[in-house]
């Protein structure tokens, strides 16, 4: 049991970090950016391509992070240019199109051959219950906390955060008030792309590193973000961690083997129903 929990730490950090990025993006840009993991994948593959031509790892990784930021900024530009006044539903649909577009373009650009992916955080931190806890797991957890705390500070303590929130929640009013926020919003997108690239640079070497599998990390990340109702950062952090730990425990157990894929989502459904219990039950009464 404890061994399972420890073995799910890295996955928990991954889901939490990506879930927090989703939540932060939703609050700052009013978009459920389903392409956020895919932009990070673009960063990973740019890194691999450059490292393959003899670049030193850190330079290649930096270029990868920049590439991830650039791809995400491109998505953000499309969103602010043509869909600034559309509702969150439309913008989410557009982000699905962007997700599919990035995956297709990445396959064309990089093919499906496995890449050499150096692990920047392969060292060991500790051994708990016979499980080696790697630097990667710690870095991912730290990244999740940093993303969560950073967004929280930005939103509650800075005038910049206030303007971004205004832009996300009342775009037309904000513009009429003379606050130009398009450049700012695109910067948020770029930052999200860079952070997602950082997360994936740590994750990709120890997970199935094909373009599709990595891009689809967005599914558990979405589940994590949902646990926070796409608004509460702490909820997304806890949700991501819980999902990862649950995955670790269930994968190690013979009893629930058959239902492993269902359990996390059944749990999410229950929690969502519980958190909305007043609305659900009061309405039915």
């Amino acid at each position: 049991m404890f061994q399972g929990l420890v073995s799910g730490l890295a996955a928990g950090g991954t889901f939490a970090a990506l879930g927090l990025l989703l939540t932060a993006m939703y609050r700052l840009t009013a978009t459920v950016n389903l392409a956020v993991a895919a932009t990070g994948v673009a960063g990973v593959y740019v890194m691999a391509a450059l490292a393959g031509t003899g670049w030193p790892y850190w330079a290649a990784a930096l270029a990868g992070v920049a590439a991830g930021a650039l791809v995400s900024a491109g998505c953000g530009l499309v969103m602010t240019r043509w869909f600034a006044e559309s509702g969150p539903q439309t913008r989410t649909a557009v982000s699905i199109a962007q997700l599919i577009g990035i995956i297709a373009l990445a396959y064309i650009a990089f093919g499906d051959e496995p890449r050499v992916l150096p692990n920047p955080a392969a060292g060991r931190v500790a051994t708990l219950a016979g499980v080696v806890v790697t630097q990667g797991a710690v870095v991912l957890l730290a990244l999740a906390v940093v993303i969560g705390a950073g967004t929280s500070l930005l939103l509650t303590r800075t005038p910049l955060g206030l303007r971004l929130r205004a832009m996300a929640e009342r775009p037309v009013t904000t513009e009429l008030l003379g606050i130009g926020t398009r450049a700012l919003t695109v910067t948020v997108w770029a930052l999200a792309g860079a952070l997602s690239s950082l997360v994936l640079l740590v994750v990709a070497p120890v997970r199935s590193s094909d373009i599709l599998s990595l891009s689809m990390l967005i599914v558990p990340a979405c589940a994590a973000a949902l646990l926070g109702g796409l608004r509460r950062l702490a909820g997304a952090l806890a949700g991501g961690l819980a999902l990862g730990l649950l995955e670790g425990v269930l994968a190690g157990s013979a009893v629930v083997q058959q239902y492993r894929d269902v359990v996390p989502f059944a749990a999410i459904l229950l929690i969502l129903v519980w958190s909305r219990r007043r609305e659900v039950w009061d309405a039915s009464r």
Binding site: G8, D112, S208, I211
Partner: protein
């Protein structure tokens, strides 16, 4: 007049619709399958995954290389071969369309060198109805091995798994054999058949049978479970990126004393390069004479041809090369016109063909299902390079199904 034409168009579409629907299920006579006189072209088809998420371009490229060489040397009895390779895009609808285009519109006499995840599953009944044979270069889905119209030259994932089980328990003499599978599509029963066959053959049972790995799973909990359950040999059917992640976690978690046996899928140069020394101790099952053996006399012709025609040296390329070679050799035995019927008859009458590139002879004949390649050579990664550990073929004494 204009009004009449405008009305005629939808009518023509309506008329054509039932015809095309009929084409989906029923056999069609090819418009130009016959090649009676000398100098005519023999059209040969292939349906492969050439674009999409998982691609197999090497098999059809290798088949084309074989046909090109035959053409350069004067063709088959004076007839040139035209290879029509269609792309199924990894999509069932596109696969059905590709097969109908190649078989019905192009009128090919047979299919050779196809490599796809779903060609057989989608098209095998259509091939059977059309009276056409397919010498599959790489069969992956279970239907490839369960159709009278299709006989793959490769071992396939299921027999590959059975050979690995046999190797682990009977050759390596491991008592605790465990299996982790990622089940994609309709493969569960076929893998189950492989395990059943091995149990019937050896009387042994798996210590652990976990079929819940997903392509995007973190392998850590699975690898730790294998250690906790005391597995001595672990079989895994991961693709290239999955096998890489698996072995990296094995190293990361310091798991030692377990033999990790993979199928043919991760037996590639890219995996060796991506893993480097992290892959030490990983086995794979080569379904043909291992292509990484540069000096193997069995591979001399294949290697020279692939290099000359710029086809990557891979296991898939071996499949395409063998499929095309068997096909050309069979064509040469046909007396009289080369048609879909005469080619199908020649394959139904084919005697087992032995080449040094496979451990068991290639068969077609009249069997309802085809599992002719029942051997593998086991290779192991050491310091980022593949080495053969069984110079002799590991032949599977049982059969599937």
């Amino acid at each position: 007049m204009i009004a009449m034409r405008a009305r005629a168009v939808p009518l023509a579409v309506l008329l054509a619709f039932p015809l095309s629907v009929a084409g989906c299920g029923l056999s069609d006579e090819p418009p130009s399958a016959s090649s009676g006189g000398a100098g005519n072209v023999i059209k040969v088809g292939g349906v492969s995954s050439l674009s999409g998420a998982v691609t197999f371009p090497d098999s059809s490229a290798a088949a084309k290389a074989v046909f090109d060489r035959v053409n350069e040397q004067g063709g088959v009895n004076g007839h040139k071969i035209e290879y029509v390779s269609a792309d199924d895009k990894g999509d069932p609808a596109a696969a059905a369309q590709a097969a109908r285009d190649v078989v019905t519109n192009q009128g090919v006499v047979a299919l050779a060198g196809s490599a796809s995840l779903l060609d057989c599953a989608v098209n095998a009944p259509f091939y059977q109805q059309s009276g056409i044979v397919s010498v599959q270069g790489t069969g992956v889905d279970p239907t490839c091995f369960e159709s009278p119209a299709v006989s793959p030259v490769n071992t396939g994932p299921y027999l590959n798994m059975a050979i690995n089980l046999y190797y682990a328990s009977e050759v390596l003499k491991r008592d605790k054999v465990c299996m982790f599978l990622a089940i994609l599509g309709n493969t569960n029963d076929a893998y189950g058949g492989a395990v059943k066959s091995w149990t019937a053959l050896t009387g042994k049972k798996l210590t652990l049978d976990d079929r819940t790995v997903k392509p995007d799973s973190d392998p850590t909990p699975f690898v730790l479970r294998a250690r906790r359950e005391g597995c001595q040999a672990v079989l895994y059917n991961g693709t290239e990126p999955m096998a890489i992640a698996w072995m990296k976690v094995v190293k990361q978690q310091d798991v030692t004393g377990i033999d990790w046996l993979m199928t043919t899928a991760p037996y590639t140069e890219a995996v060796a390069k991506a893993l480097g020394p992290d892959g030490d101790g990983m086995y794979a099952n080569a379904e043909f004479e291992p292509f990484t053996e540069a000096d193997s006399p069995a591979l001399k012709d294949w290697r020279e041809l692939m290099t000359a025609k710029n086809v990557p040296l891979t296991s898939f390329g071996q499949g395409g090369y063998l499929a095309a070679t068997y096909f050309v050799d069979t064509l040469r035995t046909i007396k009289g016109p080369i048609t879909r019927e005469s080619v199908a008859a020649a394959f139904r009458a084919l005697k087992p063909v032995q080449t040094p590139m496979t451990g068991t002879p290639y068969e077609f004949g009249q069997a309802a299902r085809h599992f002719s390649n029942r051997a593998g050579k086991i290779v192991r990664l050491k310091d980022g390079a593949w080495h053969v550990v069984t110079p002799e073929w590991v032949r599977y004494p049982g059969t599937l199904g």
